[in-house]
């Protein structure tokens, strides 16, 4: 019983979403459009669950004086800072919340993102070794495309940028398509298993 009702809800919601795509008639149109919004609301509301967990984990760390507990207050204060400024002053431009976002959260995001420039370099150095013929192909095509991206490629041979375009438009498209079509089959089959309750371990139930 503890699984039957959730699984029935899953089945109903899943079927409505599928029918909504094929059937313009009511009630599927109404239900389909509403369900998507309901989903958004439930997922957004759930964020409180997450932040309660975050606060719980860090206050526990402080209480039990676990390793690195001294940093936990930073997380809690940072969280409260954004929450309070957001609730009191709102999110309009040039208000404290926006100021903190623009001058702290956004630069932190941009900096984390930019770490990738270093990591692509170290990953390329380590992974691109011609240890077997497949690795050699991976290495060669990456190398050619990199050469084609910058002026030095055309200086060496003016056909190199063309090789880059070919690699990107032919083998890359072919590879991406194969991955995408295959993945779509996996998605259809996984969705079916969910909707028909064949796979139920995600509910914590025995399967």
């Amino acid at each position: 019983m503890r699984l039957v009702i959730p699984l029935a809800i899953t089945f109903t919601a899943g079927m409505i979403m599928i029918l909504n795509f094929f059937v313009p008639h009511q009630p599927f149109k109404f239900l389909g459009e509403n369900l998507q919004e309901w989903y958004m609301i439930v997922a957004s509301g759930a964020i409180f669950l997450g932040v309660m967990n975050l606060m719980h984990v860090h206050s526990r760390k402080i209480r039990l004086k676990q390793k690195n507990w001294k940093y936990s207050p930073v997380t809690i204060i940072g969280f409260l800072l954004m929450l309070v400024t957001g609730l009191i002053y709102g999110v309009a431009e040039n208000m404290p919340f926006d100021y903190l976002f623009m001058n702290m959260v956004a630069p932190m995001s941009a900096t984390m993102f930019s770490l990738l420039a270093f990591f692509v370099a170290s990953a390329a150095f380590r992974a691109f070794r011609a240890s077997n013929w497949r690795a050699t192909l991976l290495l060669t095509s990456a190398f050619l495309v990199m050469l084609g991206q910058v002026p030095i490629g055309a200086m060496i041979w003016d056909k190199i940028p063309l090789a880059k375009v070919w690699l990107m438009s032919i083998p890359n498209t072919a590879g991406q398509r194969a991955v995408m079509i295959g993945a779509a089959m996996g998605v259809v089959s996984t969705s079916l298993r969910m909707i028909f309750g064949i796979e139920r371990s995600w509910l914590g139930g025995a399967d």
Partner: protein
Amino acid sequence: MNWEILGIWLGAIVTLCLYSFLYRDNPFYKFVEHLFVGMSAGYWVIYNIENVLIPNWWQNMFPPEGGFNGIWIIPGVFALFMIARILPKTASLSRLSLGMIVGVGAGLNMVSFFQTNALAQVKGTIFSLASGGVWSIFSSLVLVVGVVSGLVYFFFSKAHTGVVGRTANVGITILMVAFGASFGYTIMARLSLLIGRFQFLLEDWLPTIPRLLGLGG
């Protein structure tokens, strides 16, 4: 107090602290990492309230022009069920909400993946090979063979031996070429991000130091 300069300094300090991670884990990184997690969690809570809960839920239930729309109680109840997890007694209610979320996700993904990832890609691969010069024909052939043999690689119920094995080998080869190309191509976009951060540090932040020390304008 100059808020603009303070903002630049805050941005520069957190930037430098995060970069220090490249050397090794250290107290500066730990501090900013914890700050980042906390602040961004707070940001997303406010974001969800302002951009989803108020416009998509509250204002639907209580329209600004007055009245009450009872159907919007349903998502509210589902959201409460979700949050009911914190109490062990009511925790199992959250399964109902999970059931709904997974159902919507599964149904939606099934049609959209099938449409854009399968059918649209298959359609893009149905074309005449006999156009353009020799090179163009060769390229088209590589594309079609690549897609088909790539799909063979994903066969699970056949051992990769014999003809299937050889075709799957062609498939994985093309996949490797594709991955290499994609990797090499993305480097430029990643470097652009780094250039952007360094421009901030060198062109926005550094010039404020002499100004703060009272040197120059």
